[in-house]
Symmetry: C2
Subunit: 360 residues, 2 copies
C-alpha cells in the first residue's frame, strides 16, 4: 500500500485512471463540488457517479456538467473502474460513516481510493489493513507534513501573481482560476494554475491542500508553491474561503500573504445573501470586500482587485446580463461569468498588468 | 506513559512540580520567553535553569525575572527536580538536536518532560520507548486534535471579551493579558486569562495551542475556548502574531474572528523596527495597525482598540516616559508598560467598557 498516486491520472499500478465518484445522497453542484469539478476538467477519467438515490440520471442533469456520465447504484454496475473517488467536501471534512462499507467493498475489488477529506483514510486501521491485503493505494490528497515558515526571499518579481479571492467559500474560485489560466495559455502566455485545495490538486496533479496545514506553516507552504512555480510568466493562484468568513478567514489571509498577489480577481455568486452553511451570518457587500482585500494585501506589497468573476449558475441569462452591467458600473471593473460568458474579459484584465509589471 | 499532566502544577505521579528549565545557549528574554514567563508567573515551581554556557549566573541576571534561581550545568546539580521543561520557542518550533541526550538523561532519572515545540516528543520513538520504560510523562503542550469549525451560536454577549493584538510576534501579548486579568481581579471583577499559546497554557494549566491546530479549525477551536469560559464577566484572550506578520497573520486572524473581541489592546515593543526574525521586513506604524485590526474585527461585530501596551524593556525609564507621552497624544489612547508602570491604566480602559456592554 502506498499513500500517493504517481500522478493524478494513473493508478498505483500505472494504469490509466478509470473513476467511479461517490456522491451518495449529495449529488448537487455545491455539496458535490469535488465531483463536479473533476468531471468538468477531467471528464475522460470518469466512468460513473455512485448515488443510490439518483440512479438513472446523468451527471449533466445533477451537476450541470459531464454529459451522459451515468449515476449507478453499486460498484458492480461498472466493473472496469479501477479507482473510487470520494466526491463531496462536507464542512469539517469528515466522512459520512455510511460510506465505510462501500469503500471497503471497493478496496476488496482492488480499486484505489482517492479522498480529499480531513479524516485521512490512511489513518484508519481497518482501511489500511484492507488496502495492504489487496495492495491498493489510499490517496489522501490533504495529507501533508508542512513545517516551513515563510521567508519572503528569492521571489521572482517578473512572474505575475494573480490570486482569486472571494465573498464566501464554495462559489467557484478554483474554476475561475483554471479558466483564466487556460484562457491565458490560449492567448500564448506561459500561465500556470496553482492548486491550493483538494479538488484543484485532483485536477492539476500537484499543489498543496493549505486548509489542512498546521496553522503556523500555511503561508510558508504557499510561499514554497510560489517558489516552485515562478519560472512561469503568470501564476493563477487558487483562493480559499474569504477574509470575512467566520470559519476560514485565517486560511484565506495566510494564503493571501503567502502568495503576495500583484492582482486579485474577486469571485462571488449572484443572489447569495448569507455565508454558505451559516445562514445566520449575512455576507458583506462586494465593495467592502474589495476594500478589505486590498488593505490586507497591501500590507505585504502593492496589490489591487483587477476584476470580478460572477457565478451566475442559479439565475437566467437575462438576469445574469442585468447583474453584470450593474456590478460593472458600481465597481468600475471588468465583470464576467467564466462559464457563461467565457473568461476573456478577465484574461484581458490580467494581460493589462504585464506592461505595469515590466515597468515597475 | 501518559501524554498530559493532570494539571500544570503537579507531575504524572501527583507530586508538586519541581522544574528544571532547559535554555541551553538561549538564556535571553526573547529566545527563552517560555522560561522567562513560567518563572515570572510560577516561580515556586522552578528550581533551576540548565544552560552550560551561563553557569553561576541567576535567572534575574539573564531573564530579568526569577531572583536567585540559579543556572546549572547538569541535571546532577538539582537531584530533587522531578520534571524538565523545554524553555525556548524557536521559529518553526523545532527541537535543537543537541537536546536529545539531556532529555533522555532526564527520562532515565524518572523526570517528566514538558515541551511546547511543534515537533512532538510523543511522536519520537526513542523518547516514547524511554518514557514507557521509566513510566514518566511526555507532555506535548501543543498537541491537539481539533476538528470543529466555528458556529457563531450561543455566544453570551454579557461576557466582555478583550483581546491583546500586536504589531509583531514575541513582544509580550501574553504578559499583558495576564497582568490585566490579574489587575481586574484585584479590582473585584470575575476575570479570566484565556491562554492560546504553549507558554500561557503552561502557566494557566488550560487553553489551546492555536498555532498548532490544522488551519481550517483554528477559529472553531477559539470559539470553543470562549464558550467554555464565558461564565466569567471578563475574558482576557491572549493574542498571537500580528495581522501584518508575513508568517503568522492567518493564525492572528483566525484568533481574532474566533474570539470576536469587544475591545482590543494593541501591544508593541519600543524601538523594534523590523519583524522579529525577518530583519528585511519593516514593521507597519501603530496607527496603521489600529486601522487594520479594527477593519478586520468589525467584519464580525463592533470592536475597537481601547488602549496600547508598550513593552519598554530595552529602554531607560526616561525614554519610556517620553515614548508613553508621545504615543498617548498621537493615538489618543491609554498607554502603559504593564511591567514598568503596572497595568492600571489598561485595567481602567477595560472597566470603562462594562457600562457600554450593559447598555448595548
Amino acid at each position: 500500500m502506498t499513500e500517493k498516486l504517481p500522478t493524478n491520472s494513473v493508478t498505483a499500478n500505472h494504469e490509466a485512471r478509470r473513476l467511479i465518484i461517490l456522491t451518495e445522497s449529495h449529488s448537487e453542484p455545491i455539496a458535490a463540488k469535488t465531483a463536479a469539478s473533476v468531471i468538468r476538467y477531467k471528464p475522460e477519467d470518469v466512468l460513473a457517479l455512485l448515488d443510490t438515490t439518483q440512479v438513472g440520471k446523468t451527471a449533466q442533469q445533477l451537476l450541470g456538467t459531464g454529459g451522459e456520465i451515468p449515476v449507478v447504484a453499486s460498484l458492480d454496475a461498472v466493473p472496469e473502474a479501477n479507482a473510487l473517488m470520494l466526491g463531496i467536501a462536507p464542512p469539517g471534512g469528515r466522512m459520512p460513516e455510511a460510506w465505510r462499507s462501500v469503500i471497503l467493498e471497493a478496496i476488496d475489488r482492488g480499486m484505489d481510493i482517492v479522498s480529499g477529506l480531513h479524516d485521512f483514510l490512511s489513518n484508519d486501521a481497518e482501511f489500511c489493513k484492507a488496502a495492504q491485503a489487496k495492495d491498493v493505494c489510499l490517496v489522501d490528497v490533504r495529507k501533508n507534513n508542512e513545517r516551513d515558515v515563510a521567508d519572503r526571499l528569492n521571489i521572482r518579481e517578473e512572474c505575475l501573481r494573480i490570486h482569486t479571492v472571494g465573498q464566501d467559500c464554495s462559489l467557484g474560485k478554483m474554476v475561475v482560476s483554471l479558466e483564466i489560466a487556460h484562457g491565458l495559455r490560449r492567448a500564448g502566455h506561459k500561465s500556470k494554475f496553482v492548486a491550493t485545495g483538494q479538488t484543484g490538486i485532483m485536477i492539476e496533479g500537484e499543489g498543496l491542500p493549505i486548509d489542512c496545514v498546521v496553522a503556523d506553516f500555511v503561508s510558508g507552504a504557499v510561499e514554497k508553491l510560489i517558489l516552485a512555480n515562478q519560472h512561469h510568466d503568470i501564476l493563477l493562484i487558487e483562493g480559499q474561503g474569504s477574509l470575512a468568513h467566520p470559519r476560514y478567514s485565517g486560511v484565506t489571509l495566510s494564503l493571501l500573504h503567502g502568495c503576495m498577489p500583484h492582482g486579485m480577481i474577486l469571485c462571488y455568486e449572484v443572489g447569495r445573501k448569507n455565508v454558505n452553511g451559516m445562514e445566520h451570518v449575512p455576507l458583506h457587500p462586494l465593495s467592502k470586500l474589495i476594500e478589505v482585500y486590498e488593505t490586507m494585501a497591501n500590507l505585504m506589497g502593492p496589490s489591487k482587485v483587477i476584476g470580478v468573476a460572477m457565478n451566475s449558475h442559479y439565475v437566467s441569462a437575462e438576469e445574469a446580463e442585468t447583474e453584470r452591467e450593474k456590478i460593472r458600473s458600481e465597481l468600475g471593473l471588468p465583470v464576467c461569468d467564466v462559464i457563461r460568458h467565457g473568461p476573456e474579459e478577465l484574461v484581458q484584465a490580467v494581460q493589462a498588468m504585464l506592461p505595469q509589471l515590466a515597468a515597475s
